[in-house]
Symmetry: C2
Subunit: 101 residues, 2 copies
């Protein structure tokens, strides 16, 4: 199940921070992400930990990668998140019943 992988990937705070970081600055390498996680998100994750997190995100389809020489750049892909809003129809605003006559 693909949708399960997406939710599992989003269940970890470090992985959500990685998505935040990739949204703000696209095309970062592993080392860039590690240092920016530490300096900007207060994370203490090692290189291997972040690498494994990126694997999970890539398998879930939330991160796309491209190789150039010895560098591997990561890009955010939010399209799998749309399945969430499609599944449980999220209207813009739920009107509170009886709160506003």
């Amino acid at each position: 199940m693909v949708v399960g992988d997406v939710f599992k990937a989003l269940a970890d705070p470090t992985r959500r921070a990685l998505l935040d970081e990739l949204q703000e600055r696209s095309g970062q390498t592993l080392y860039e992400l590690v240092t920016r996680l530490i300096t900007r998100h207060g994370s203490t994750s090692s290189r291997q930990a972040v690498s494994q997190h990126l694997d999970v995100l890539e398998r879930a389809g939330l991160v796309r990668t491209r190789r150039e020489g010895r560098y591997k750049f990561h890009d955010l892909d939010t399209s799998p998140l749309r399945a969430i809003t499609d599944r449980w129809r999220l209207d813009p605003e739920p009107p509170p019943p009886g709160a506003n006559p």
Copy 2:
């Protein structure tokens, strides 16, 4: 972290099936949900398992409950899911590039 609880709750297929079931028919009891999970979703979860799943969903704010006598009714609440669309800005529809002239 509340947002982490929401994603963890959604990471389980049985819990997602419970949300589907509650969306289709609101206000079901624990026993109703168990039987409908078995008959309609092919699940084999026991009563205790479903009860614990409902606890997780309730703690995540995705399910609201109301007690009447010896019955406990469950209702779906999709408002926590809105945090997802707010965090990684999900536009309503991604225009396919060059697909519709």
